[in-house]
Amino acid sequence: MNQWGYVIACWVIVIGVLGVYAAIIIGRGRALSRQVPPEDRRWM
């Protein structure tokens, strides 16, 4: 693998990991917010 291969691999891993992690948080948040009464999830 040449230098650009390592560079691209790094950037893809960073953006991929952060993207997947963000998606998991959003997904779990949406699922859990349905189980919590509305008065307890007003983001003030």
């Binding site: 790094c10 952060l18 948080i25």
Partner: protein, 290 residues
């Protein structure tokens, strides 16, 4: 002793991301949507600066472009550890669940950034040093920091009452900043393969300049925005988890009480319908038989 979150303890946010009845549909709000948009645009800008506009390094060549994500990841991992330690200390002092949840959210994000730091460092090390991994003081101490963060998250998952769980994890959280100091100073304290600090090695003086320094600066700012976005969402997720846990416990207690009341009612009714048996030798009025 404060054990319940109040509205004033909730994180700042705006009124966006609501369903028709004005209730948020997830962990998002108008504030986090704006922050998320800024993070995405910043990431695109960082890509342009880091992968295209900035020049090759005289020694490292294009591998320097890895450092525009590796160094900010490491810095944000340190920040996450700092927030976790502060949150843990405040929790142990004030028993504030707000700070406990902030510490928890920050530790998880810190683990993600530390993992990214290790992987990007390995990918930089392979073409630079010829190996993915070496038991160098900086690498080893960073791996220990990663394990400590995983340990913190594992302690939080051990089934226990909320105050016990929070106290245990807060004690682990206190160890993070000392570990970060060891990681940061490892290149000074021991002879290491890892290079010494390039940025702020001599106060505010930097050994890199121009577009390289600018790309690094953009990287830190963009990763900082991503960190803030993740922290707010992760905090709200932890808050939702706590609410579900609390409501579940309250529901279980209410169910048990209702069950006990129903049992008492049934036994009371049975006693009324079938009075207690009379003693031998007495009639139904309790008088002695003649």
């Amino acid at each position: 002793m404060t054990t319940h979150l109040t509205q004033s303890e909730l994180p700042p946010g705006a009124a966006g991301g609501r369903s028709g009845d004005g209730v948020p549909t997830g962990t998002g709000s108008r504030g986090t949507r704006i922050l998320g948009l800024v993070a995405l645009l910043g990431l695109v800008f960082l890509g342009l600066i880091g992968l295209w506009a900035s020049p090759e390094d005289r020694i490292q060549g294009n591998l320097v472009r890895i450092l525009y994500v590796h160094v900010p990841s490491a810095m944000l991992a340190y920040l996450a550890c700092f927030i976790t330690t502060v949150g843990s200390a405040v929790y142990l002092w004030k028993k504030s669940r707000w700070w406990d949840l902030v510490a928890y959210a920050s530790a998880e994000i810190g683990a993600v950034f530390t993992g990214i730091t290790l992987v990007t460092g390995m990918l930089w090390g392979r073409p630079t040093w010829g190996v993915y991994w070496v038991w160098d003081a900086r690498l080893t101490s960073t791996a220990m920091l990663f394990l400590l963060l995983l340990g913190y998250l594992a302690v939080r998952r051990i089934p226990a009452a909320a105050p016990v769980r929070s106290k245990r994890s807060a004690i682990v959280g206190l160890l993070l900043v000392p570990n970060v100091i060891i990681v940061r100073q490892s290149v000074e304290w021991w002879r290491t393969l890892h290079q010494e600090a390039t940025l702020f090695a001599n106060g505010l003086e930097s050994e890199i300049h121009g577009l390289m320094l600018f790309a690094w600066f953009v990287g830190v700012v963009v990763f900082g925005v991503i960190f803030a976005w993740l922290l707010i969402h992760r905090f709200r997720l932890a808050w939702l988890q706590e609410q579900i846990e609390e409501h579940g416990l309250e529901r279980a207690i209410a169910d048990r009480r209702a069950e006990a009341d129903a049992e008492a009612e049934i036994s009371g009714a049975a006693e009324a319908a079938d009075p207690s048996p009379t003693e031998p030798g007495t009639d139904s009025n309790g008088e002695a038989a003649r």
